[in-house]
Symmetry: D4
Subunit: 249 residues, 8 copies
């Protein structure tokens, strides 16, 4: 149910005296999240936007991350996913939730409570082996949201012949996610070959003038392929999420 329609229902309930105006204002404010003091867990997000909130582990204590995960699970999320979770954080989550699965390279831990209906495909293409963790984060995210994921790793650019086996999947894909560090040139090359939207994920792979992903980010932003949009450095999660949204239209 959308925000506006919720407001209108509340107003209607006030009009029929089922609800006191002051209470209505409070309800409006208090309903859609659970307050853990240090965090407000957005338990209504799945209803509102079709996908449960994801917990970014960075900067949180293991205990905080685990508590938020448990709150989301208790509120009935279809799945719970914690990303950028180091060993200690994954252990804390594992202690509080059952049936968790993990990917140590991607530093992710998750549970899937209810399968989601499959809709559309996303092709994830990476430039090099070192982009692996970001590829995996994207795959996990898209998979949990019901998108079929096809992956081609280490496609490179300096060696276009390596791109050849990707072409059939490129034609079939609804959306493409390109994961690349260094110069990020793979996004331009794939963008020029694809007829669908391409989402570039610059990675922090590289050294020297790679500047932790900034060069790949700038390269993707200035790509002459007009079908490329870009997300934050190493944000495999975000790219996969948008790919899923596009597939749901």
């Amino acid at each position: 149910m959308s925000t506006r329609r919720a407001i209108e229902q509340l107003l209607a309930a006030v009009a029929t005296h089922e609800l006191d105006p002051r209470e209505a204002a409070d309800l409006l404010a208090d309903l859609p999240f659970r307050d853990l003091v240090f965090a407000r867990v957005d338990t209504h997000r799945e209803l509102r936007q079709g996908a449960p909130e994801v917990i970014l582990g960075d900067g949180k204590t293991p205990e905080q991350a685990a508590a938020i995960a448990m709150a989301l699970d208790a509120a009935g999320a279809s799945s719970v996913l914690v990303t950028r979770a180091d060993d200690a954080m994954r252990a804390a989550v594992r202690d509080l939730l059952d049936d968790t699965r993990e990917d140590t390279l991607a530093r992710a831990i998750w549970v899937e409570r209810r399968p989601v209906e499959k809709r559309g495909t996303v092709l994830v293409v990476s430039a090099g082996t070192s982009d692996g963790p970001v590829v995996r984060e994207a795959r996990i995210r898209a998979d949990l949201l019901g998108t079929t994921v096809v992956v081609h790793e280490d496609v490179g650019v300096a060696g276009l012949h390596r791109l050849a086996p990707v072409l059939p999947d490129l034609e079939r894909a609804d959306v493409v996610v390109v994961v690349a560090g260094m110069d990020g040139a793979l996004a331009s090359v794939v963008g020029g070959l694809a007829a669908c939207p391409v989402i570039g994920v610059p990675t922090s792979v590289g050294y020297g003038a790679s500047f932790g992903g900034v060069t790949a980010l700038l390269g993707m932003l200035t790509s002459c392929a007009s079908n490329v949009t870009v997300v934050n450095i190493d944000n495999g999660f975000g790219a996969a999420y948008v790919a899923t949204l596009i597939n749901r239209l």
Copy 2:
């Protein structure tokens, strides 16, 4: 027709002796564009990707831009669009093509030869009046490609009440394009309210620490709204193009 299928047809023609192998290799290379010496006009782009090439005026002489426009038109493009075209360049295009239309604020000139079938809607929301030229560039591009465009300008962020009249259109939109300079915070706010993909266009509007759009760009890239992807500063054209691609899926 896709590139790969074209290659297979050529190979088939070689297999039936209709074509000499060496000629086939040459054909492969020479076909899909027209050579103007200083430019290779991609006349097959519309067939390949569904949208004719657009001419970015920046850095070209008026004569070069006009000649490319004429070549695209002669090759049968459904529309021809020149962006970032100053007065002299628009005059040069006007001299060579008939039936042109112009938008001086957006510095664009175009002709539409064949109407394109309408598919989907895009909502374009801008933060302030000064973002107007970028909004217009986006509108022209989406319009020519058959997307229905709804525009809300000067929505701001410092004054959320100004966002209220946008909400109904926000719910109906298939894709949203957010155009904002300064801190670019509007993308985060709209991203949090929308259930569909949001494409952020940072603009060079602002002064001081706006750094010609860099602050808005960085803000949009680090938005906590996961449905936001980003294009280059002032690239209204690119955002509209991707919105169109999404609507075609």
Copy 3:
């Protein structure tokens, strides 16, 4: 009247059947600004925040700025102020509004319709003569909002003795605004001497490693005087506005 209380009144009107729920939602959205298509003039801002909206001329056409100014004036603003207005823009405003006053160095034009009650003083201190335009913008803004302004220009830092005549006013001030380019060191020096809040305005004055105000901005942000907060480069307007807010507490 605050936003929340307005919402409660609307809800009450709905509860008493004076208002239809759907109309209430529309009213909520449409009331507080006037739509000029390219701009939504925030005519309720003065009621809501105690100060009328100010028009930043940058990036607007002269006609747009003048039309917004007229709309604000027509809506009954106590004063109308256009900043960063070049000659053409000031002329356009002068054509539409009567009784305008101007400061060409500060590139500002304004009308004052109703005197505002005087509350508190702000001391504006600048490092050099070239900071003059920013000083003036700050003075105009604070003056229109009812704050008594005391100005000391060209106080420098390399020559602390020049600071001596400022000391008595420094003791009397409720808030201090420090305007400085180059290294912005004056903010640290004044911050160390003042017992009240100090707002730093870095200016784009300087050359080479001044980087258009970035060095002054960074210097003020890292000042070891804990009473210094900072606004954007050349943002004399903003500093004066916050000084006024502080004086109203």
Copy 4:
């Protein structure tokens, strides 16, 4: 007692022959701090500016920090606060001072010798759970200086409904401190809703294009909400101090 008045009293003492001129000059220089060779402890700061000096732990050895803390305590400060103190430093301070209290997340240790009269309130609002340490530093500082602190954590922006329960406190607050990393957009949103001064504290929370807080810093500086001023990245202490100064006016 202000600096200027102190100078005048000294001059008077010289005029009445109670003091030799040369001695007066020496007194002027030597009085207001205690020299620890590696540090000059500003023991008169509380008299001069109303708040005792705070010890920033960064870059000091545990022994240096503890010695300065003891000197301030011995000089009669109403409270002694060491920030950014790691485990070793907090242990060193704990060894030298009695009645200390600590916050490990905020890495702070302090003693309160005399309660300070309560004046005004500050609302501290944070965007996410990871901003917690900065929120706590701000709370400790304001609390010790006699300001009533109200805290709302994890308010976000991508989900404006989470902002609703903050609104009543927002109306009551004298000053608001907004703590946010990533894009820092919360400062713009809160700035647009508040009628009082808002102090933005960008945090180093985030990854990739967050650049350790730079993006949040730039976003807050270019906020279109004119009531926002900004302090250094992660400087919760400074924001709380200025909030206290404003409340004392």
Copy 5:
């Protein structure tokens, strides 16, 4: 055999019915690399470009690097080289391949299976002792590819007399590689003395305003010696490779 000629041979095979067109397309794509899922090992690179692929250890797990090394070795590479390999990675490679040699300072491990014909010389000149690891990486790479390497370390610039013993080798060299951190000025000095191409390798040696090699990089790019081209920071490998290519012309 070049890519184009390979395509022509395939087309010829199709023309003579030795090959089915669809198979030809597949062959085209699948041939030149071996798929390890996480990596596509470019086993044909030595045939195509005359030098076997090199494995950059950064960002790979020890197991991944070792597996790629083994695949290259099995495919018949004349030599296998892993750079930026820490202790664990070198141990993993050592376990899988026999006859390895190592340089701990350069963090490199390699095997040489077949000696390469010697062609041309390269002079490697470094500014300081700390540039040693980069010098060694360059020497190993050039050596394995058949280039005679002459090294002069710690030549400096602030002390031109130290350059004197380099002069005879400078006259004899076919190509010069200059390795320098800090200001990178040695590239300009050597560039002005040499009559042959000079390749600058900025290093991350230095502190403060060296910015991890950025200053040396910028200095080399803006050298007034027109014979200087530049590679990435610390990229001794790349400079040596290009020097080898030049010597093969």
Copy 6:
């Protein structure tokens, strides 16, 4: 004659008493250039490095550039070339030298006094029409130094099929110069296809996140194609010069 051999001859002349030691020192210093007070024209450069000095117009007055050009011509340079010369500078040179030729797009003026022996070829490939001026500067420079130049303009990357007609020339080239703005990805693509050295020239073509060529520069520096070295932004002249040096080996 090399510098070292010149020194030895001078020493020999001193040994045979043909030359006084003090005079020898003076000769050493005074010989190889002509002093115009504001400029020291390197008249011996052609002897020493095989190519005459080139005059970079930027920052010089028209009169200075013309006087230096005349001095070089008078000293017997095989050719004189002034680059980045605006209309006034080209007029000043035209007034002082006869037989000049010009390229207005490249802003270059030159005279050729003696044909240079032809050696080797360089392929110059550009990404877009707007890179034209840099392409021309490279062509003029290489041409005057006796290198055969083949040019392919507007090859793009987003549309690899446009690269096809370049392939035959790519195989034949001794050196390749890639000229590209925006993301500079063409250098990586060409680098992966070429077996010879590739010199990347980033151009200032582009807008927004292109940052005047910085993005292309960084992209080329971090190219995963190991045969790419890079010169300064827009430095077509330098790339062509190095290509010539390589061809002379």
Copy 7:
């Protein structure tokens, strides 16, 4: 007379009842400059630091600069110098002062009222012709302050032989000022040859990766020659002033 001694004299006058304490405080503050409202002319600077204040034209109106110049002249400065003065500003100064002299290339105008005693020499060395304006600004400043100036222009680095004629003057100099743009490498080379202090002046000469002088600035700061200190980009005036101070010791 030094500041401290002035304070002591004032205190003595108070002690002898010659002066009222409150008057003393006022005198202290008001004496050493002349207030032009927009500028506080430091008329005592020559007494205090041995050199009259210099007027930096940047950011001032012609009228302001001329008025300050006249005030300094009227106050008895030994010389008055306005730097970075465009045509209009120099005209305004010329109108108000007699006996002015000008250098259009350096954009400076000055009068010399009393010759200053000659003390010491400074050698000014520049890398290229385009550095001329900065060289001249340095020469004018040093000359007016009584330092003997020796200039060598266009010394370069890529061509060390051009440095030879500078060596004798380098040995005789008390201080050296090195003026260079691009990579600024000349500072390192000269620093390594000189036994005296060297002051580097990076200039904004160059293009692309020169970044308006930033590269030269960073290069000079990271010079391995330990006798190099640096001033702001294009700050020939400052370097000459410090050279003069050193010569006065």
Copy 8:
């Protein structure tokens, strides 16, 4: 003995047949340093520039640093100093040399073999306790070269009264070295008070927008005090060395 005079003596020896020309060239090149393969120890530097070479520990192995130290000592240096030497490096030096002294905070180790004649004084002033290591490095360096050092630490800026006890020493100093992080404003304040040359050393002390010393560096470079020159971040050694050179004039 100067370089030039050494060249003339060699030439004279050749002229008198005492020396063969070719041998003379070799001698010229080989004499002034000792080759350790990985390092060329500049054993003649003390003769040439009056101060022995200093060993920067950064980037060297402990063994390399110790070997260079021993070579310098063996060659008769008056003192040997290793800076930025961690525990392992200091241990290695201590093993090879006798009579070493150390400062762990400054990470320095040194031996003094012959006292140097005392000449002049330098005042070292620091902003805060955390600047201590840089202050000590400066003191050690100046002390070993015969300069009398006076130190005032933790002088601050936000609290000008703390500057008072420094004033007498400021008047007596021949040169001042200002050590400050954060905003580096102390350099401007001291520069305005001092009549002698001031050398600014920005330090990496601070957090957030201090950017590891960049803000202090930029602030010092743009100081309006014209007597300030600047060295690299944390380069206490360099500042002290230049101070010594100035005192020797």
